[in-house]
Symmetry: C2
Subunit: 221 residues, 2 copies
């Protein structure tokens, strides 16, 4: 089990806070957000974490976030969006734009399930969130067995997910990692989800309760 912090380029962190995150027990950082993310704030945010020896990902929800110097990119393919633009369309556009300079080895495509209908990302992608655990498991199998995606990501943004669903989906995956994000507001929540997911991602809590967010990283000890 690993723990990542998700750092939003559009939100404010002080230098001591960045320092505390860098010195925490977390396994890495994902730089990414939904609103007001620009090339400028993404670059500024990424640079503050660049010195780390931990994993550092830039999540490419928008192609304007591409930074030439970033090491590893996460590309979320929103499998439960009815709009294929959020699965393949916008990324084929990006490949065309950056061809032939695309660093494929540094890119991890992520099978992404948007599961909280009230989240901004759900409204943006029009994701179908009315899913049974069997539906999500079928997407997980598709991600692993058809598309060979390294990561399958359950994103509940803002709401703690259904642990029985997380466990059920984990039982269907053999090689693809299961990442969980959303609604982790305490060490207890973090431990709870970490029981089933390979990676838990702590995001909003950084901005809501910094000291509690820091403590969630201790579950990796």
């Amino acid at each position: 089990m690993r723990h990542f912090f998700k750092v939003d380029p559009a939100k404010v962190l002080s230098d001591p806070e960045v320092e505390a995150l860098l010195n925490s027990d977390t396994d890495g950082f994902i730089i990414g957000g939904t609103d007001h993310v620009t090339a400028e704030n993404a670059a500024f945010c990424y640079e503050r974490f660049m010195g780390t020896d931990k994993a550092l990902f830039l999540e490419l929800s928008h192609t304007q976030m591409v930074l030439p110097f970033a090491d590893q990119f996460l590309v979320p393919l929103v499998l439960n969006s009815p709009d294929s633009n959020f699965i393949v369309g916008q990324f084929s556009e990006a490949l065309k734009r950056f061809s032939p300079h695309v660093p494929f080895k540094q890119i991890q495509p992520v099978g992404y399930m948007v599961l909280n209908g009230e989240a901004k990302v759900a409204q943006l992608t029009k994701a179908n969130v009315a899913l049974l655990k069997e539906d999500v498991a079928a997407y997980a199998e598709l991600a692993e067995r058809f598309l060979h995606l390294p990561v399958f990501y359950l994103e509940y943004s803002g709401k703690l997910g259904d642990a029985s669903l997380v466990r059920y989906v984990k039982g269907k995956l053999q090689e693809t990692e299961l990442w969980y994000g959303g609604g982790i507001r305490s060490v207890r929540d973090a431990r709870f989800m970490a029981e089933f997911a390979d990676v838990i991602v702590v995001g909003n809590l950084i901005y809501e309760n910094f000291s509690e967010a820091l403590k969630t990283a201790e579950i990796t000890r």
Copy 2:
């Protein structure tokens, strides 16, 4: 370079014609079609070719075509459809329905580009056919480098494709095979497209000019 015949379960072939196809120089058969395909006619058609030592695929455009006894399945993911149902939706439904009895080792997901706007499959999938060769190449790279699909299929159904596009796309692929289908009406057409594609697929010609269709298989000699 290889040659496949695509046999439509909804169209008529006599026993001597099936025999001639089986004894031809082709490398294999794809059982599949767009209209009027049912579990019954797909099963009947598949059974007529089952004795072959050549490759034999059942193309799953509709999940009602699933045959429990088929050896190899092609699952076309229509990457240029705006409707994600034709990319991941309907197949995740099928995985759910057949779980846990899905023979993943026998399934080849195919990155499928529908390129003739007048074809039925283009109307069905609402595929965006207004694509430059750079657009198609970007989808090819996405299929190979993001999704690790074994096959990228250019489907011009009924119309001979743009050879310069086929050549350009072939130049972008290293591991994923490039299959070409559509509008091959003569040995000359077959040779022309076989210069760039790894596989050429001859379908309609079987029903339009059987002896010429048979001759196209000779290009494998």
